[in-house]
Symmetry: none
Subunit: 226 residues, 2 copies
Amino acid sequence: MEGKGKKILIADDEPDILEVLQYNLTREGYEVTTAKDGDDALNKAKITQPDLIILDIMMPKKSGMEVCEILRTQPMFHETLILMLTALNDESFHIKGLENGADDYVNKPVSPKVLISRVGALLRRSNKDASEKILKRGNLTIDPSRFEVTVDDRQVVLAKKEFELLHLLTSRPGKVFLRNEILHQVWGNDVIVGDRTIDVHIRKIRQKLGLYCINTVKGVGYKFVN
Amino acid sequence: MEGKGKKILIADDEPDILEVLQYNLTREGYEVTTAKDGDDALNKAKITQPDLIILDIMMPKKSGMEVCEILRTQPMFHETLILMLTALNDESFHIKGLENGADDYVNKPVSPKVLISRVGALLRRSNKDASEKILKRGNLTIDPSRFEVTVDDRQVVLAKKEFELLHLLTSRPGKVFLRNEILHQVWGNDVIVGDRTIDVHIRKIRQKLGLYCINTVKGVGYKFVN
DNA sequence: TGTTAATATTAAAAAATTGTAAACTCGGGC
DNA sequence: GCCCGAGTTTACAATTTTTTAATATTAACA
């Protein structure tokens, strides 16, 4: 089962929807709690400390939007994922929701399949620990979840190995990564490749980025500088 | 060189294998001792105090398994890494080897590259030692993880040997390091270089730092002062 | 003060390491 | 099959580091 152990809180004022979603998410292995309005949601959130909260925008007591805003002011919920549910086609709502700190939104009527897929995606994205976080180093941006690198808003396409190598180096700017260390982290423990392989990849990264951000430390390794 | 200073004991009853592995590991910078059977291995282990022991499972006198068990009963070898070598595909042997306290195993026929990679991995894992700590001595700062030296906020670029030599001297200010000691620690035990080599490096360090922080003790060696 | 052994300095040779271009491998898509 | 691209290897040039060798200087001591 997929969602093993992850806790989800669903807040919606329509019992039918609540039931359907709870049923489906539970079946996926998530631990599901429900709330019937905004205040209830805030309460249950504090008590159960969910990994992800699904909020209907239209709710009594407090709207999903308000709940979202309140949650985001509390450090306790800084990392908590929030998914907005809305019956409105109104784009401005979506945008406002995202601005308020929601991580995703899904339109009503909700298809359980779509919801499960989005929930899975969100959890997965936040789950791959720090390695999925977007890195910004000066004019360089690295987005591991999207596999994208930008230099001064210019997007650069890197091959997989190149990307992983750059990602490794940027993960600890200034630290010298020994060639062996690099082989380990990027190529894996028992993969055997020649020594020049690293150089060639470094070269391609330097070339593609058009940026001198990787220093050679002769006889030792490479380090990212800014 | 990578495996600087680390001691490895290889025990195998096949001279050919012994020779190949010794050659390759030595070339990586390890200090290698060999043993031709189980008893020999136990003896040499006590004498040389290796950081890692490579044991063939099938050996005369005592099997690798037995050697492993005996070693593990002695506190002296509690931290010593043990890598098992086996011609058997028998999974149960692997498992038993690991249960007995081996840290890893490699199947025969052994590829030197694979072995080197595994050995490196094992040593690295156990290695997170103090050598990564930033040293500050007055207006001098040495950061081994970044391979950087600064004097009064001015960054000085040292080559590898220069850096290692400075790092060694700085690690114990005031202590006089004999020329032999220096050769051992920085160049490795069996590297043969002339005596003037040290002088030349010392000179370069003094020159680059622009700081008189290394004292000559005539007829003895050098020491770091502040 | 002169002698001597040890170290400092310097330049040049040797070795090691990396940069680079080009070729090769291998799997997937057409 | 053929082509393409990622990944790797190869071979060699370019560069830097390390070592050597030759000479100068220094410190210790008779």
